[in-house]
Each structure stands twice: as structure tokens, then as C-alpha cells.
Symmetry: C2
Subunit: 192 residues, 2 copies
DNA sequence: AAAGGACGTTGACCTGGATCAAGAAATTTA
DNA sequence: TAAATTTCTTGATCCAGGTCAACGTCCTTT
């Protein structure tokens, strides 16, 4: 049951058996049906969530009612509205499931206990965040220097499975492109 | 001399006198003249740098020779090519000074010593990174949902001093806009 | 199996911001 | 203070990708 999350943790820190069972005791398994919200904008994000199964997305809705995907969460990834979580303020992002999914959630106060009792978890979340930070910086630079086509192919090269699993217009929304543009990119590629 | 950096650290963690002096013993002050490189793409980024004075920028050069600014570093900010620093691989970013500047640098191996001897520094750098991550996520969502004009005014509202200190085309490069566009935005505002 | 949503495609058209080019103004350097 | 360089402005033109609208197909749900 805890295989995936424990191997995720083990990438960066080693836990004793006791630490492991303390950690898992803080986890709450939640099943999220397709289209169901894990978090709604306006609510405070109380959890760090590890995707154990399925696929979710975190997105904002802009002034014109358009959705923009901040991040996807596939199994093995962590997903939350970090700002809301850290500052205990209402979330600006929504998180919902693109497939029937399972997440392990840790509550804020429990995470603080974890940091206290097993300080190496500071290092673990630091590592996670370093990766996420670098990925986001690349995403910014990519959007400034690449065409729509380059961005799309880089995306499916980087996350080949996403292409099968999520509707094309969700990928468009992640990349900041219109669904029609993705469709035309694929048409052009096909005819080569 | 260490006022600014110590108050930066004190935002998130409390240090004893001993810890403080250990920390400062790891810092190396470097003076960087305007236009001088702190890091060149291709070299490995060996330092975390705290800007004590002045202003720097981290930028990439894309396939067409265009520069794109990943981040600015004003006094009180940390700046580095984090991916290069963490993985000990050649940097993709250049960092240079937009004004005569001073930075405190910590070498990678010294930072690891610091983490070991004063573990709360894990928490400190975690906090820094959390802020940076949130800022970057917002920057991505802003670039997807806002017009050039909105992005520009949000930028100068957020960093009013930058507008005075750095050439307009550097701000354009940060926002992913052309210098001409910024110029026209300002002209339109002026005539109102 | 029918009906109603999602989802993807295509064409026609539009537009925000890029690009190009030239010059003016400001700043730096000699 | 003159020359060189960098920065900013302006106009003309272009184009990548957005928008709008219509339709086809697939997938759910009943």
C-alpha cells in the first residue's frame, strides 16, 4: 500500500522502521473520482498530497473564465496549492481528478510534527522543491524561446504517457495554447 | 558587513552566536563590476550567491541568440543557476551584474557542511525555495492569462525600484516581450 | 440504443505583439 | 566635449497563434 510513496521518500532520505511507521501513520488515503475536487479555490489547502494512483491537475481560472493548468499530478508526484498551504490562506488554485485517483494526504500540523520528529524530512521536501523549481524555471524560459510546436513536442517527449491519458485540450491549457493550435500542430506533423 | 544577510537568515531561523560565526566564516565576499560575469554558461555553478549590494541578472541565450532573463537579483535576494549548482553540471544560465555589485558566495561543499552542522539551514533554504517556487508559478500563470500591458504594470507595481534601476529592455527580456512593446505600452499610458 | 456531453478537427478570419528599420536621446568613455 | 555606445522611440509591416463557428466522433449515462 505504501510502496510508491516510500520509494519516493527513499530517493532522497533513508528512514528507520520507526520513522517509516511514524510517517505512514500521518498519511490519510483519499479516493478521488474523475472530475471530483481535491481542493476548490477559496478553501484553504490543508494538505500536501501524494498521488498514489491516477492523474490530477491544479489550475486557476482567470478573469475571463479561462482555465490555466499550473501542474499535473501523476502517480509518484506531489500536488497542492503550495502558497495556500504555507500561508493558511484561501487557495487560488483548484485541484481535481482527470481520472479516478488515490492520494495520500498529510495535514499541515502533522507535517510540522514530522519535521520536528524526523528533521530529515526538511531535506526531503527541500529536494522535491528544488526539482519543481528548476522545472518551473525551464517552463518559463521555454515559453519565451520556443514556438507552440516546439513546446508541444517537448512536452510529449518529456511526458509520453500524458499524451495517452489526458485530453489534448488539457495539455493545451498547461502549455498556454488553444486546443485548435494543438490540433493543427498534430495535423501538420501527420502529413509529413 | 553581514547585516543584510543575517537579517535575511533571521526571517526564518534563529541562530546562536556560534552558529552565526560559523555561517559567516563560510561566506566569501565578491565584488562584481557592472557587465562582469558571476557565472558563465558552460561553467559549473559552484556557489549560492546572496546579493548584498547592486543588481544582477540570470539569463539564458536561446537558439536564435536571444537573451531571456530567468531572474533578477537585487540586494537581499539569492541568485544562482540552481540546477547546475545542485547537479554539478555545466550551467545553462549566465549571471552578470547590471550595476556594480557585491555578493556573498557559499561554496557547495561549505553549504553541505553548514547543513550538517546547523541543520536548521535546511529549513532556511526550504523557505527561500518555497517563496521562489510560488513566485515562478505565478509568473507562468500570469504569462498565460495576462496581456503584455498587464504583465508590465504588475511588474513595476511589484518591483517599483527596478523600473528606475535597470534598462527597460531588460524588463522586456524578463517578461518575454520585445523592447518596442514596452515602449509602446508606456506611450499609451502617458497619453491618458 | 438513444441522447447528451465531451472531445477533436477544420476553415475563415482576426489581432497582439514581433520584427525591421531608422533615428533621437541619453549615458559612458576617451 | 566629442565620439562611441547603449537605450528608447516611432512607424510600417508581418505573422503565429487566437477566436469563432460548424461539424463529426466518441464516450457516458440512462
Amino acid at each position: 500500500m505504501y510502496d510508491l510513496i516510500l520509494s519516493n521518500v527513499a530517493k532522497y532520505i533513508q528512514l528507520t522502521d520507526k520513522e517509516t511507521s511514524f510517517f505512514t501513520s500521518l498519511l490519510r488515503l483519499r479516493k478521488i473520482r474523475k472530475r471530483q475536487y481535491l481542493l476548490q479555490a477559496g478553501d484553504v489547502n490543508q494538505f500536501e498530497n501524494f498521488v498514489n494512483k491516477g492523474c490530477l491537475r491544479a489550475y486557476t481560472v482567470d478573469a475571463h473564465g479561462e482555465e490555466h493548468i499550473a501542474m499535473f499530478g501523476l502517480e509518484g508526484w506531489w500536488i497542492s496549492d503550495l502558497y495556500s498551504f504555507l500561508t493558511n490562506t484561501p487557495a487560488t488554485q483548484n485541484i481535481d481528478a482527470l481520472e479516478d485517483s488515490e492520494v495520500f494526504s498529510i495535514e499541515r500540523s502533522d507535517l510540522e510534527k514530522l519535521y520536528e520528529q524526523v528533521p530529515k524530512f526538511n531535506r526531503f521536501f527541500l529536494k522535491l522543491l528544488q526539482n519543481a523549481f528548476v522545472a518551473h524555471q525551464r517552463r518559463i524560459l521555454a515559453s519565451m524561446s520556443q514556438t507552440a510546436e516546439e513546446q508541444y513536442y517537448d512536452f510529449i517527449r518529456k511526458y509520453p504517457s500524458m499524451d495517452q491519458r489526458v485530453p489534448q485540450h488539457q495539455i493545451a491549457s498547461y502549455l498556454g495554447l488553444s486546443p485548435e493550435t494543438i490540433s493543427r500542430i498534430r495535423r501538420n506533423q501527420a502529413q509529413r
